[in-house]
Amino acid sequence: MEKLVYRHNRITRTTHWVNALALVILVMSGFQIFNAHPHLYWGSTSEPDQAFLSIAAANDGGEVRGFFRIYGWQLDTTGVLGVQNTEMGPAPRAFPSWLTIPGYFWLAGGRRWHFFFAWIFALNGVLYLIYNIANGHLRKFLLTPKDTARVPAMVLYYFRIRKKSPQEGEYNPLQKMAYTSVFLFLTPLIMLSGMAMSPQLDAAFHWLPAMFGGRQSARSIHFILTFLFVGFTFGHVFMVLATGILNNMRSIVTGWYKETGSDVPEPAWLQDSKEEMIQKPSGVPLSHQLLVPELEEIPPAQETHQNHTDAPQPDNGISKSPPNDVQISPESSKQTSPTHNNEVKKDIVE
C-alpha cells in the first residue's frame, strides 16, 4: 500500500540545497586556505616545531614525498595528501587540487569563495531557523532529556537487537541527537571559531579567540569541526541511500514522499502529526488533488504494552500526548491504509 505525502515544503527544500551547496564550497575553499599553511597548532601562536598536525611534503633522498603527521605519528600519503602527482610531476600540495576551490593554488581566490559562501551559509541558516521556529517544527527534532534516555534503545534497534523502535514523533532519538548537535553545537562553534581568526573581531572581543584557547586553537578547531560536518554529511547521505535514494531524492526535490504500508504500522498519533505536516501542494494540478479527505480514521490503539526499558514519561511537548509504545495489531493496520487507491494526497490548508 503506497501513498504520496507532501513531506518537505518549498522553504525546507530550498534551504536544504542552498545549505548543501554552501557546505561543499566552504569545505573545498577551506582546504584551499588550509593549503597556504598546512599545519595546525594549539594556543595563540604557531611555533613551527609545535604543530600537532601537518599535511606537507618532505624531500626523501631526492624524491618528494607527501605525508600526514599527527602527534608524531606519520603516514606516507604521496599522491593524495601532501604531494599530488600532476602532469608537471609531483607538486607539494596538502589537499589535492580536485578537493580545492579554485582547483589550482590561489589563496586569495579561496578566501573570496569562502567568505562569500560563509554569508550564504549563515543567511540561509538564519532563514531556516526563523521559519522552523515560527512553524513549531524545530521542537520536533530538538533532543529532549527523554530522548537522550532512549538513544541506547535506538542504537539497539538499528542493530536489530531490539525489535521495537523507541521512536516517538517524527524523528527518532538518534536523528534528534544528530540534528540537535549540528544545530546547537557544530554550527555555532564552526562560525565562532571562524570569526575568532579575524584580527578585527579579536580586537573588539578578546573572549572570542580565548574561548577556544587562542587564535591558532580556533583555527585547529575550525578545521576539526569541518570533518565533523563532513562526517555528518556522509552519515546523512548514507541514510538517504539506505532508506531509498529515489524516494528520498524525490521528497527533497519535489516535496513528495511515497509512504509504503508496512507490517508494523505507525501509531495513530504519528499518523495524525504527519498529516498535520501535509500542506496544500501548490505545484500539483487540481486533477491530482483529492478534494475529499481519503484517510480513514485509525481506531484508537487498544493494546498498550508498558515497555520495561523506558520509564513512563510525562508529556514530552508534542501537542498530542502519545501512549507509550503503542502496538497495533496487523488487523487494525489494514484499516489504516486506504484500499481503493495508491496515491492519496490530502488537501489540507495549513
Partner: protein, 256 residues
Amino acid sequence: MNRSRRNLLLGAVQGAGLLMLSGCEKAFNSLQQNKKFLSLLESAEGANQRLQRLLTGKNKLAQEFTEQDISRYFKPNGNPPPITMEYIADAKNNWQAWRLEIAGLVKQPAQFSLSELRSMPSRTQITRHDCVEGWSAIAKWKGVPLTEIMQRVQPGSEAKYVVFHCMDTDDSGAHYYESIDFRDANHPQTILAYEMNDRAVPVEHGAPLRLRIETQLGYKHAKYIRRIEFVASYEKIAAGKGGYWEDQGYEWYAGI
C-alpha cells in the same frame, strides 16, 4: 552478477565520478575567471567590512600579551629585503641618510629622520601578528603612533587614505605598497615601528620602519617604508586596488 559485469559497472561509476569531479573543477575554474561572478564573490568583502566595523566600534585595542608570550620564531614573509645600493648603504650607515617622506594631500609636507621619529612620543605593544596564510606570531613592537605624524603634517579634508610606499620589490621589480583609511590610521595601536623585541627592526622584518596595524592581517603591515602619501583615492596607484597583494586579488579590507 558476474565479475566482468560488476567490474564494468564499477568502472562506469568510477568514470562518472571522475567526470563529475573534473567537470566541477572546470566549472569552478571557469566561474573563477568570469568577471561578473568574481565581483559577486568580492561583494562579501564590503559586507564583512561594514558588519565587522559596525560590531567592533572604533579604537578597540587588540589583545596585548606579556614578554613570556613572545614567539621564538617569527617568519619573515613577503619579498626579500631590498637590495638597492641606496638601501644597503643606508643600512650600513645606521639609517642616518634615510628619510621618511610625507607627501600628498597634507598641509605640511615633511621629512623625518629615524632619530626624529625616535624622539617623538612612542607606543610599545606586545601583539599577535596574523598572516593571511594562517600562522600567528607574537612580538614586541615599539614605534611612533601614526596619529603623531598626522598631527605634524595635517592631512587635508579631501584625504581619505594613507598610502605606504615601500622599498622592497618583487621579482618583476614592482614596489610593495599598502593603503589604509583614516579609521584604522587613527587607531591607537597603529604605529610606525622602529623596534622589534627591544632591538632595531631587523632587515628581514622591514628595517628601518614598518607599519603595525593590529586589527588587520599581516600583508597590511607594510615593511621598508620610504614614503607616506595621503590621497583621496588609490585608484591611480599601481593596479589600483590599494596594495601590492590587493592588486593580486586579496581583499583591501584585511580584518578577516
